[in-house]
């Protein structure tokens, strides 16, 4: 293989615990991580290496499952098994707890900001997706509770430019939501995975969505103009990557800069797929460009591409570590 994933740095991020998730700030200069130790850590580059800048403790009583930066980079949201979501405000090099969003009946599994920064979505084990509105005074108000899934909702992600929300669930389905007369409604249900859908990622243009699952596959979904002229959105599965992953695929990340697709797998491997640009757009072809089979000593939970530095990839694992990789395509 001409392409390669090379190790930049390994960080013992959440020792004696799981590292569940990592998220780059919009400027790509900070990385937030969270884990089973109930803490959020903020990592920044100093010289050639990444170091821990701040530890956010005391925000949550239980595992912090996911973290998300606001599009302006001044706020961080953390979703926890304690059924709350904390909003942190950045003050110089420090963070202060601004507010705590309550309402979910049990574990909050994911949180995501809309591209405008005015909306926030959370999802939970309680099967619901909540949309929150943020006003100029930093006040958060829940505007909608949607119950389109029949099981635990694992992940929520916003479209890169539009106010379109997608969610993935233990019920094996993906739902896409749009606002309709001040109410958020499920406008498409994407069926095809045969087990839990763990994560979703839009491509740069937002025309396609990648999903990964406990069924050991990754699927690529494409939006089609609606032929029937009705309000429902039309998304079809145009590609299934099967046979590459030995166990559950816990995360998928579509690089907005290069189009490379990275996956985090329960078989300890990190893989990167590249799209064949000559293929028919209605039948895209992805091939394995690079993989590290023992990227971590335990399950890989998350992969995240740096939004500004092409090819810089962060992964984290049940072994408590964060690893920074460089994906390089050679001529």
């Amino acid at each position: 293989m001409k392409e390669a994933l090379s190790l930049v740095q390994r960080l013992s991020a959440h020792p004696d615990s799981r590292c569940w998730f990592v998220s780059w700030s919009p400027s790509g200069t900070l990385l937030a991580s969270c884990g089973g130790d109930k803490a959020v850590r903020i990592w920044g580059r100093e010289g050639d290496s990444w170091i821990c800048k701040t530890v956010l403790q005391d925000g949550h009583q239980r595992t912090v499952r996911k973290v998300a930066w606001s599009p302006c980079g001044n706020y961080l949201a953390s979703a926890s098994f304690d059924a709350t979501t904390c909003i942190w405000k950045k003050k110089n090099d420090d963070f202060e707890s601004l507010t705590v969003l309550e309402g979910h009946e049990n574990e909050v599994k994911c949180v995501a900001w809309a591209p405008s920064g005015n909306l926030l979505a959370t999802c939970s084990r309680d099967k619901s997706v909540w949309v929150w509105e943020v006003d100029e005074e930093d006040e958060y108000e829940c505007v909608t509770v949607v119950n389109s899934h029949t099981q635990d909702v694992k992940h929520v992600v916003w479209h890169p430019t539009q106010e379109l929300l997608a969610s993935a669930s233990y019920d094996n389905n993906i739902c896409i939501y749009k606002e309709e007369d001040d109410d958020w409604e499920c406008r498409a249900t994407l069926k095809g995975h045969t087990s839990t859908v763990w994560a979703l990622s839009f491509d740069a243009a937002g025309r396609r969505l990648a999903s990964c699952s406990d069924d050991r596959t990754v699927k690529i979904w494409k939006e089609y103009p609606n032929e029937s002229g009705q309000a429902d959105l039309s998304w079809k599965c145009v590609c299934t990557l099967s046979g590459y992953h030995g166990r559950t695929v816990y995360d998928v990340a579509w690089c907005q800069l290069t189009g490379a697709l990275a996956t985090a797998c329960g078989d300890d491997a990190v893989r990167v797929f590249k799209e064949d640009e000559t293929a028919d757009p209605d039948q895209p072809v992805f091939s394995l460009a690079a993989q590290v089979t023992k990227a971590h000593t335990q399950d890989v939970n998350c992969v995240a591409w740096n939004p500004k530095e092409a090819g810089l990839l962060a992964s984290c694992s049940d072994d408590g570590d964060i690893t920074i990789w460089r994906f390089q395509e050679e001529d």
Binding site: R62, T63, R125, T248
Partner: protein, 159 residues
């Protein structure tokens, strides 16, 4: 789960416990690499207590050595367990106890799969999916009352 409440399976068939593992000279030799084998895994789980009877999982034939598959080189463990009755409401708890026992006993490198012996439980698929979901297992183990019940199943029997 004991005393007073009506038992789901009041008169379970009780099976003979297996004997102690016979040690060979090779087992005692510190210089020989000794991979983890099926019997060793079976010994870890056979004395787990049933949540509803004062009996071990081995005595109820919920676990059997032939349904334990370990591959030390690949770091995988696969356990099938057989609920005593097809509608056993304790199936998830029993599976969780087996999983927790192995998570605590084995090196972190092991991937532990615990599932119901095919065809022996009405909600086999749902229970298997629940046990395979590490996020839900992690959340369950942060629940102190559930953890207490699991620990009771795992505690050494006081006879």
């Amino acid at each position: 789960m004991s005393g007073g409440t009506r038992l789901e399976n009041a008169n379970p068939v009780i099976f003979q416990r297996s004997g102690e593992r016979l040690l060979t000279a090779k087992d005692e030799d510190e210089d020989v690499h000794d991979p983890i084998d099926d019997r060793e895994i079976f010994d870890l789980i056979r004395s787990i207590n049933d949540p509803e009877h004062p009996l071990s999982l081995e005595e109820l034939n919920v676990v059997e050595q032939v349904r334990v598959k370990v591959n030390d080189a690949d770091s995988t463990v696969d356990i099938e367990f057989t609920p005593t009755i097809p509608h056993c409401s304790m199936a998830t708890l029993i599976g969780l106890s087996i999983k927790v026992k192995l998570l605590r006993s084995l090196p972190d490198r092991f991937k532990i799969d615990v599932h119901i012996t095919p065809g022996t439980h009405a909600s086999e698929e749902a229970v298997n999916k629940q046990l395979a979901d590490k996020e839900r297992v992690a959340a369950a183990l942060e629940n102190s009352s559930l953890l207490e019940v699991v620990n009771q199943c795992l505690s050494a029997k006081s006879i």
